[in-house]
Amino acid sequence: MYREVNEMPKCVNCGILIPTQELRFEHHERQLFSCSERCQRIYDTYKYPRYRAEIAELEHAGDPGIRLGYAPPQ
């Protein structure tokens, strides 16, 4: 069935669209998507530690942290 790009997952680290292969990984009991091993590592070692608080905020709005740095549009 047709999937518009905005329905496809984005990499939790770099924000790129993940067309088909959904590389899932578990992170602090959360199911997350990343586009590659590298992004997963960068998320673990840089993005998450650095933005822990902001990410927690976003998660309340159902965003795993891909819209970091500004209030999500809606």
Partner: protein, 597 residues
């Protein structure tokens, strides 16, 4: 599980391929890319290709990673790895057959913007995919609201026709009805069709070469070389990075109005983190995406990032290996990673140069040196209508050269398109033969608004072009930057000039901005203005910013600029404190000293 190792996984540095063979193989591949380019240039219809060279030819290995390219448009080279990688993933190699060609231009799927058409061809040997060849090129018209695409579009539907991965060739056969769809939705079907065929033709050229290679050296050898080619570049890239001190540096700049909300500015904010042999470029802190077209797709942002990084790489064979040490973080739905159905046609041309300068700005903090900001706009004008001579519809995508920023050791180049797009200016004669336009003036832009920033090493001059409409009527749209924001100076250098788009109705004396003449929102970005025969449009490109204290500039250089008509005597005085003899133009040392102290 949660990874704790903060370093990138240690690199396997063993290169067991004989270095000679590796070099042969690599140059062979690069030559193949060049051949693709030549084929493209010779067979394409549109000036943007055979003159503007706005395309890139690339070869990927079976794993979908770039192994070769010739020096083409960096903005495309940086994005194409992702386009190809995601394209292969979405279609699935198992669904590809020999002779298939896949067409793709979806900006939300790693692409740059709609006009950037990418064709991809799997190369088969004995029923196995051994490599892919791809060509990414800028189609002038793709339907939509604006002929030649660039204006103040508000969403993807206004920008034109979008192709997620779709097979346009099946087993060496044109998928005819799909071509029909394509040509019925673009204003210049003959060109569109011809250019697309040229792109596809170039894929066949490269494919032949690759097949030769594989047949000559065998698939195993070929595959190993492909791996090693990338590894070698990665090793060199990581070395270059390791030479930098670890640390974080931040820089930001703004993109002025998006054509929809004139008074709003859009921030590109980057933090460059150096960790040993890898770099993280984190755009967190950039603005949300704008309603108008200057947003960057993920691919554009990645390209700009790589383009900037390559400045510190130096001469490294350019392939996927170079990307591996670089990680990018681009918040979804932000100005640097636009989300469907956000508009984004302008990001690739006019925002990405600024992004590059932002990264360079940050890096220069690290590496010292650095540069002042370039003009950073392509000064794009989209013109479309009926050509009375051919009776055919035409669409012209016009861009011109701006001035680059002064470097720490020399002046900025003049009249050169932004560094993200090493495209050439379209020659006047070609312009006039191809389109119902007459070029009234084409010179360096020495005007006060546009002139470059002064500095020990001044910025380069932009161009000034005036064109007159020779058709009964045509529509003009524009997408330019730096109409209000100035390129920033460095190390005491003055800020650069502004871009100007002015219009003059036939028979009138004075030049007007689009808002003055037509009440459009923005003077730099607007869509489908009706021009009539004899109307004129003037495009002044901004000069780059200056590097270093102007008073440190060698007076002789100033004198030479004046001799060359770039500065007036008066300007030499006010900008550089250099006094010249009105009669001879010689530097008057004593007076100059006095002015400068």
């Amino acid at each position: 599980m949660s990874v704790t190792n903060t370093r990138s996984t240690p690199l396997d540095t063993r290169i067991d391929t004989d270095p000679i063979l590796l070099e042969v193989m690599r140059s062979h591949l690069i030559t193949s890319c060049r051949e693709m380019g030549i084929a493209m240039m010779r067979t394409s219809y549109s000036p943007i290709f055979n003159e503007g060279l706005d395309f890139s030819c690339v070869i990927f290995d079976a794993s979908g990673e770039m192994i070769a390219q010739a020096d083409f448009c960096p903005a495309q080279i940086g994005a194409i790895p992702h386009v190809v990688e995601w394209c292969i993933k979405e279609v699935g190699p198992e669904n590809m057959s020999p002779g298939d060609v896949i067409l793709h231009n979806d900006p939300y799927r790693g692409g740059c913007h709609l006009p950037e058409f990418m064709v991809l061809k799997p190369c088969f040997v004995d029923g196995e995919i051994v490599a892919y060849t791809a060509n990414i090129a800028h189609m002038v018209d793709i339907g939509g609201l604006v002929p030649a695409a660039f204006g103040d579009t508000r969403n993807i539907f206004q920008e034109g026709l979008r192709f997620p991965p779709v097979k346009i060739y099946r087993e060496d056969e044109e998928v005819e009805d799909l071509f029909r769809v394509l040509v019925s939705n673009i204003r210049t079907p003959r060109f569109g069709y011809g250019d697309l065929k040229a792109m596809i033709g170039s894929l066949y050229v490269a494919e032949r070469r690759i097949v030769e290679l594989v047949e000559k050296y065998g698939e195993v050898e070929f595959t190993r070389c492909a791996q090693d080619i990338k590894t070698v570049s990665e090793i060199l890239a990581r070395r270059a990075i390791s030479d930098l001190p670890d640390g974080e540096w931040t820089f930001e700049a703004v993109i002025e109005d998006d054509g929809v909300e004139p008074d709003q500015e859009w921030t590109i904010h980057a933090t460059v983190v150096v960790r040993g042999d890898e770099v993280i470029v984190d755009y967190t802190g950039s603005s949300p995406q704008s309603p108008g077209p200057p947003n960057q797709t993920w691919g554009v942002t990645a390209s700009a990032t790589y383009a900037a990084m390559f400045n510190i790489y130096g001469a490294i064979p350019f392939n996927h290996g170079c990307y591996r040490p670089i990680s990018i973080i681009a918040p979804v739905g932000s100005f640097v990673n636009v989300e469907y159905p956000g508009s984004c046609v302008g990001g690739n041309s006019d925002s990405s140069p600024t992004t590059v300068d932002v990264i360079l700005g940050a890096i220069s903090e690290i590496a010292g040196k650095g540069t002042a900001s370039d003009g950073d706009t392509c000064g794009i004008l989209s013109l479309g209508g009926m050509d009375p001579r051919s009776g055919e519809a035409f669409a012209h995508l016009h861009f011109d050269g701006g001035g680059w920023g002064g470097r720490h050791d020399h002046d900025g180049n003049s009249a050169q398109v932004p560094k993200t797009s090493n495209c050439a200016n379209t020659p006047i004669e070609v312009l006039e033969t191809r389109y119902p336009l007459e070029c009234v003036e084409y010179s360096l832009n020495t005007g006060v608004t546009g002139r470059p920033g002064a500095g020990e090493f001044r910025g380069g001059f932009g161009t000034k072009r005036v064109m007159r409409v020779t058709a009964e009527s045509m529509t003009l749209s524009a997408h330019t930057n730096r109409n209000r924001v100035h390129p920033w100076g460095k190390a005491g250098g003055a800020e650069g000039g502004n871009c100007t788009v002015r219009l003059r109705r036939r028979g009138e004396q004075e030049w007007k901005t689009a808002p003055e003449l037509l009440g459009s929102i923005s003077s730099g970005k607007f869509s489908n203005v009706e021009l009539h025969e004899g109307d004129e449009v003037s495009l002044g490109m901004p000069g780059g910013a200056g590097y270093g204290d102007p008073s440190a500039r060698a007076p002789e250089l100033v004198a030479e600029d004046v001799r060359n008509g770039l500065y007036t005597l008066a300007e030499a005085g006010e900008l550089y404190g250099v006094a010249l003899d009105p009669a001879t133009g010689e530097v008057m040392q004593a007076e100059t000293e006095r002015n400068r102290s």
